[in-house]
């Protein structure tokens, strides 16, 4: 019923009815104002986006629409979008990470499908795996701009060559750890589900099965929990209660030799630390299978129901194209999803970008189905129980599976009761 209503209300205003077709043409004929682009950027990224917008505006053809960027705090953006876009206000284009997509589609009247503009030949413009994150129920809704995932960041003074497998990692880390003096071979937010998922996915676990049913207690996830407990309790290479600020402090003080974290961390590394970025080590415990971290893809969305969506799409395509992507990478420090951006010499020469790109190749796009929002908090709780050895991984994950299944049923029950 939800989708059906969304259709009916979304289409009622569009030239579907023969009787309406002529009126609709008139509404399209008026010149809409600037293309408004909402983004959550600050600092370098903001400047880079503004540079892309300026480049676009400078080349504007007569009759084209100028792009105007508007900074909206990222955490407030979803609320602002769902309050304004369905009522015909808000931006034409917005930049946000992909994991909200399913929720927006289900809520209706928020994001515009872009498949109409997207030709099959355009697929090659993006790194593999990126467009899958933009797709919900076989429909393409956005163009990928950049991606973030965790990788192995190491202190070159302590780790000359990064480990290729977890076996090597543990061996190296043991030598570098001195719990009593507060030195650790490895530090990362292992009790945070976002980080732990790299292990889970690596063991072949995950969140949802192919049919969207939770598989949180899958054997792979249990193995991941057991490996974490071994690292912490048996090998003793990890600090306790690993908050983000603690990890930063440890790494900057040279007390943590290796960390698993993302590109956002690089801005916080102290100037004196010579660091390197490498792909997360393969899991010796899973026959050398790679760790597969969550991939968070930032996407350029078209707001639903805006006049002249082609204008918005053209700008989105420029921003996510080779030139826009290169500017966002060079000036904004982003990891572009556009394959063509890596042809830019400055981007191609950057070893950090190369490492993260290699990492992204075996990343897993975070699920974009609405039920994922119900997983984070309980999963975090379960991982914390495992990390503290409060429960066996098996028990904690069985509880988690039950809790999430229950929450999904409750949410679905109330949403679908009258369908």
């Amino acid at each position: 019923m939800t989708t059906r209503r969304a259709f009916a209300s979304g289409l009622a205003a569009l030239p579907l009815f023969p009787a309406l077709a002529s009126c609709a043409d008139e509404s399209q004929a008026g010149t809409p104002g600037d293309l408004i682009v909402w983004h959550g950027y600050r600092g370098r990224e903001k400047a880079a986006l503004e540079l892309v917008a300026k480049t676009w505006n400078d080349r504007l053809q007569p009759g084209g629409r100028r792009v105007r960027t508007v900074a909206v705090p990222a955490d407030a953006m979803p609320d602002k979008l769902s309050a304004s876009v369905p009522r015909g206000r808000g931006p034409d284009v917005f930049i946000f990470s992909h994991d909200r997509l399913g929720g927006w589609v289900e809520a209706g009247e928020t994001v515009e499908p872009v498949g109409f503009f997207f030709e099959d030949a355009d697929r090659a413009r993006f790194l593999p795996g990126m467009l899958e994150a933009m797709t919900y129920k076989d429909t393409l809704y956005a163009l990928p701009l950049n991606y973030k995932s965790i990788a192995l960041i190491y202190n070159k003074a302590l780790v000359p060559t990064p480990p290729a497998t977890t076996g090597e990692l543990v061996q190296m880390a043991k030598g570098l750890t001195d719990q009593a003096r507060g030195r650790f071979g490895l530090a990362y937010a292992y009790d945070d589900y976002f980080f732990h998922a790299a292990l889970q996915n690596g063991f072949g676990g995950g969140v949802f099965g192919p049919d969207g049913v939770p598989i949180l207690d899958a054997p792979g996830n249990v193995q991941a929990g057991e490996l974490l407990q071994r690292w912490k309790e048996v090998d003793g290479i990890l600090p306790r209660d690993p908050t983000a600020s603690l990890i930063t402090n440890l790494f900057n003080a040279g007390r943590a030799a290796m960390v698993f974290t993302g590109p956002w961390f690089l801005g916080e590394v102290a100037p004196g630390i010579d660091y390197g970025v490498a792909v997360l080590p393969g899991l010796s415990e899973a026959g050398g299978a790679p760790m597969r971290p969550w991939l968070s893809v930032e996407a350029v969305f078209l707001a639903a129901g805006k006049p002249r969506p082609k204008d918005a799409y053209d700008f989105a395509a420029f921003l996510t194209g080779a030139e826009g992507g290169a500017i966002m990478a060079r000036e904004g420090g982003q990891l572009p999803a556009a394959a063509g951006a890596y042809a830019d010499p400055a981007v191609a020469a950057d070893p950090v970008v190369a490492a993260f790109r290699a990492q992204a190749a075996n990343g897993v796009a975070m699920p974009n189905i609405p039920n994922m929002t119900l997983v984070w908090s309980p999963a975090d709780k379960a991982i914390k129980r495992i990390a503290r050895s409060e429960a066996t991984p098996q028990a904690a994950l069985v509880d988690l599976q039950r809790e999430v299944t229950g929450a999904i049923e409750q949410l679905r029950a109330s949403a679908g009761r009258r369908n």
Partner: protein, 613 residues
Amino acid sequence: MIRFGQAAQGVIAGILVMLAGMWFFAGQAARDVATITKGNEVAVQADGLGRVIGAARLAGRGDGELGALAGRYLGQVAPDAEPAFRIVRLDDRTLVASSVEADLADGALPRRLKIEEKPLYDFAAATRVAAPATGLAAPQVLGESAGRAAATQAWRDGTEVAGHVEVSARGAGEAGAASLMSWALLSLVGGAALGLLMAPVKAARARWAALAVVAAASAFATNTLLNAKAQLTAAGSAASDAARERVQEALTALAVGGGLPVELAGLWRAPPLAVSDDLPLTLMALTLLALAVTAFFAFGWAARTWETIKTHRVAYAYVAPAIGLLILLSFFPFFYGVILSFTDTTLLNQGQPLAERFNGLDNYIAILSDTRLVGEGGVVNYQNFYWTLGVTVLWTVTNVAIGVGVGLALALLLNVKGLKGVAIYRTLLILPWAIPNYITALTWKGLFHPQFGSFNGLIQAFGGQPVNWFDSFWPSFATGLATNGWLSFPFMMVVCLGALQAIDEDMYEAAKIDGASAWQRFWHITLPSLKPALLPAVIVSVVWTFNMFNVIYLVSAGQPSGATEILVTRAYKVAFEEYRYGYAAAYSVVIFLILLIYGVFQIKATKATEASR
């Protein structure tokens, strides 16, 4: 005579309310019936067209022939309704055929979809996604506009869903609505007139008579309206069935005469017409409202209210802006929250109309009747309401005790005569209060870090074992307690200090002369004198602590596993981590009710102490 005038006013006001309400709801119901009927008609026509196109493709007919075929088919099934159609194909983004004038004006068909026709493509794409593995799903009604209703159906090219067809046609008029209303109007006016004739007979009972008149007229009108609606619905069902039969005939004719084997099995059938099932309920509520309005006038309350406003109009004018703002900023969100608590609003259905989300007392029942305090294997279920309530009460009592105890002790120390540097101590002691509490909370969280926090550092410096603060209930609870104690004692100290300085020195002198000990002076002079200042402070501090979100959320964050959560943080998690807004609203209302009950008792208790003085 006045009474009779008021009674008459009441009858008129009540009937007016009834009329306005019926005009609205009956009109809506009638329009609903008409819309659904029209929708059903075009839906079955679209279903037929989807089958015709599918059959034509199977028979190898080209794009050019489809338009003529569709035109002939529609002429048969809806000859008088000015039918129009569109056929859209997804993969090559093509408008295959159309009888819409605006489409034909843009060049020969088939042609590629224009940019403005993106909605057609999106719709076809969504149709393909929603299609079952074989056969066709139910056709989709798009609603109506300018007297035309439209519906769509997918069409298959071989096994694939290739696109969609759209059928629109002019539907029947809205005569139904008018007839429905005239019946209701007639019965209302008739009932009222009858009642007014009877009313003056016994002027003393006029106001009761007024209520009876309105009730009778409403009941009669309601009955008439519901009967008329039932007839309308039956007529609508018959029209839907007739439309389906015409489609069936046309398809059979194509199959037999036209040589096109159209699949007839499973031709869509409109579900039984069920529109606004809540109309009786709505009308009953409307009757109650009308009766309330009648009573308001008939019993003279309206007149009295008007008098009051007239007498104190200056005062009302002064408070009007404040009332306006309060309504906007306080009452509206509050009542919205209360309404939300009777719904099952979640992230997924918040766009639906409120009436569809209504679920009565389910949330409250779910919260209050959850008695599974101990789950499987003797593990406490920390998400249980009563566990959280218990923690909250414990949290409040211990915190207020610590706040008052420490505050009072420090105030007594600072109140010592001749103490040097009082100003400095006082400033230092007020500081914790001056720093925003979330900064304090985050600082304390750092202090309690198991490996790098100062507390464990101290414990280890003295040879103790470090405590894993957040791994079990009591240490985790203690972290919150320490933080909140730190935050709350300055307030109590300031309150006590002010009250202490107001105590008459003579009383202590007199007590000393009578040989009272220091303890006796404290117990019999200081404490009773502090009571008037301390009691209100304790009352507000209980409310603050009960809802002290920041400290719990930031310091222990409910660890382990939500055990140290208090009611407000739990409500927050339900709302913003589980996205069950209705349930969270009910949770908040329960918290409000607890505090309300507490407040009422507390005020009574305070009044009692004041009276005894």
